[in-house]
Symmetry: none
């Protein structure tokens, strides 16, 4: 039997367009992974009657109803009251939740208010869902073979609840068909070319298999999935290996992990170190490298040389190089990568220099002109990019191109 779900997001801020609802997308993906099919999504405002109507409709057409938002301490949050009305129950104090709230306030050295204390009140017939990072607990209900989960709208609070509690609980409650998913990540090839490469493979897949192309910022995820109780894990792995073999040298990971993690693993396994000189990316590359736990094993540090003075004084780029070729040039990018490597005494040096926009462009070097550099003990190279995005996008694309350049060189070192 197909298990259907409906996601209800609550909040005036969604309806007036002040925030993008990313929660419902994230939840959809999670449910999809455990074989639960989202058939509807609904957003309503902070209105008791609208919330009730949404719940009533959802109950009639779905088996699982997941609600986010409307659980904060202030008075525009009326979800809990509405829920009591809907399930015809009343609020009781949950001691465990109260302890947790007190604990959180104690750790922060803040005084607890009545508003906070009230967050420990939950409907009588629900199971509280622990909120590791916040004071509003989630609520789980089962009634007439339907399941309901209410969670706060704060993304990291909600996500932790889904990962730690909801996914497992739903799998236990509903016996969902087995779904296998595995993602390979590629870089350096466009979706349409990848599709041509994988045409034959796709045609060979059994009916219960599906290959999805998920492009994002020029890099394409390949997600293979298969549904059905009869699938052998071995068979699925076999098809996945074929997928990876067909996609060839563009695959940087056989799991849904970022390239910074893959790079970090290679560096760690080789006991090699990295330093970075950033100009137009302004710290973003280093920030992404250090977003990986344990990055201190291989990342020594960076110099963000936003001004020309900093490039010369902190990185030792030749003044004449900047005068002759400009700060955005192959020579500057190469000197930056090489010098930062020497400065930090690291095995590898990377660099970025360019015009992210919207200002700073010229006819000769328009916005989007960027150089990324790579240096190891044997060679130093730089690559030119011509980007056409806005500031934010240009920074992201520069980062990605630099990672691609680094990964390819690491791989060939690795093999050598």
């Amino acid at each position: 039997m197909k298990v259907l779900a409906e996601i209800i997001t609550i909040g005036d801020e969604i309806l007036i367009g002040q925030i993008t609802d990313t929660n419902s997308q994230w939840i959809s993906k999670k449910l999809n992974e455990i074989g639960i099919h989202v058939s509807h999504k609904t957003s309503v405002g902070d209105s008791e009657s609208d919330i009730k109507e949404a719940l009533r409709l959802a109950k009639d057409r779905a088996d699982v109803i997941i609600v986010t938002g409307g659980l904060g301490p202030t008075k525009d949050d009326i979800t809990k009251k509405t829920v009591c009305g809907f399930f015809d129950t009343s609020l009781v104090l949950d001691e465990g939740t109260l302890e947790h709230i007190k604990d959180m306030f104690e750790k922060k050295g803040r005084t607890i208010t009545d508003l906070n204390r009230n967050q420990a009140l939950i409907p009588k017939n629900c199971t509280p869902i622990h909120n590791e990072f916040g004071t509003a607990p989630g609520m789980w209900f089962e009634e007439k073979s339907k399941a309901y989960a209410f969670m706060p709208g704060v993304p990291y609070e909600m996500k932790t609840m889904v990962n730690d509690f909801l996914s497992k609980k739903l799998q236990q409650t509903f016996k969902t068909p087995k779904i296998f998913h595995r993602t390979a990540r590629t870089i350096g090839i466009a979706e349409s070319n990848l599709a041509i490469k994988l045409d034959g493979f796709e045609a060979s897949l059994p009916e219960n298999y599906k290959l999805a192309y998920l492009p994002k910022l020029g890099a394409v995820r390949l997600r293979l999935s298969a549904t059905g109780n009869t699938i052998l894990e071995e068979e699925f792995q076999n098809y996945f290996d074929q997928l990876v073999a067909n996609a060839g040298k563009y695959v940087f990971a056989k799991d849904d992990v970022d390239i910074e993690l893959v790079i970090g693993d290679i560096l760690r396994s080789q006991s090699k170190t990295l330093a970075i000189a950033e100009s137009c990316t302004g710290g973003t590359v280093s920030g992404k490298i250090t977003s990986i736990p344990g990055a201190s094993d291989y990342f020594l540090g960076s110099v963000v040389s936003y001004s020309n003075d900093a490039k010369v004084q902190l990185l030792g780029v030749n003044k004449s190089t900047i005068q002759e070729f400009g700060a955005v040039s192959e020579n500057t990018a190469m000197e930056m990568a090489e010098n930062v490597r020497k400065k930090f005494n690291s095995d590898f040096g990377l660099s970025t220099t360019g015009i992210a926009g919207p200002g700073g462009g010229s006819e000769q070097k328009p916005v989007g002109t960027v150089w990324v550099g790579y240096s190891d003990s044997k060679k130093t190279i730089a690559k030119k990019l011509t980007l056409a995005g806005n500031r934010k996008l240009n920074i992201e694309l520069t980062h990605l191109s630099l990672m691609k350049l680094f990964w390819r060189n690491l791989k060939s070192c690795h093999k050598a």
Copy 2:
């Protein structure tokens, strides 16, 4: 009379979480600006019965029904067929649309297919909405004092239709009340405490006013809104000023802008410069500072000193300081902030050093122990944080605390 709208987005790719629906947020904002209140958003898959049910529900509770998606040339797009059923009409060829489609193909040098030609078929009783950038026309219906607009899901096609046609058409069709919105941003005060501070103000608001608290990562947005033809802009501004006065010193912006922008504006107006020494934030602070266009006016650069060696050699932190107090200490944070200021010859220096986690913690200095530092020509200080999030969250919160520390000091310099 309040004009209510419902937005329906169609597409399996939304329900399985493959894409984020940003269309409905954008449309919400646009409708809000012309005084139309979105009361519901619904997403359904490419299923005729689900689309029909969604239209039926929407018709009963809204005056304006806006539908996006399901209008492309491929076969999973069944919206047009469903629409004919819903309005009990049939498809006819629209000559104007056909001309436009032929034109587009000619310009691209492509051959037109039957699939493309079929896109010029539209329901008999609708007004086609011109699609400047695509081949699928939009459709406008009026029936029983309700208005319906169907548009493609491709964001730039849809947006052009709204800007060029729909906004005006809706304003002509419905005589909408005026809506005022303004957001103030606060930092350094919890939602619950802010609610206590603003209790009296909130109680004094006329019935057509609404105050919303929008918390995110410990910083709270305050959004005041008011509806009705009788509101004078002056009256609304007056209430907004009262809101800001009541929220007091925690308000860093009277518009919905980020604190990095506010800080940048202050620095630029004073011709002051900034340099940053980052350890646990690994480049994230610099990345956010440089995400603001024109940051090169005041931001000179950073040193990301992830290793102790880098702290000593690149930033000149005393070896003995690290040995005696540790890299995560008040003294190290202060030396980092002061030395980076001197190194870059900037007016202000900032620093972060801490244990973001998940590894690296000890009993004395558990994960989440962080120091942020501030230095100007007259003083150097550091502040201890005790964070309880995961790695990513701890980095974000460290950044935010540092911005708070910097902004407060900038403000007091500014006044002096």
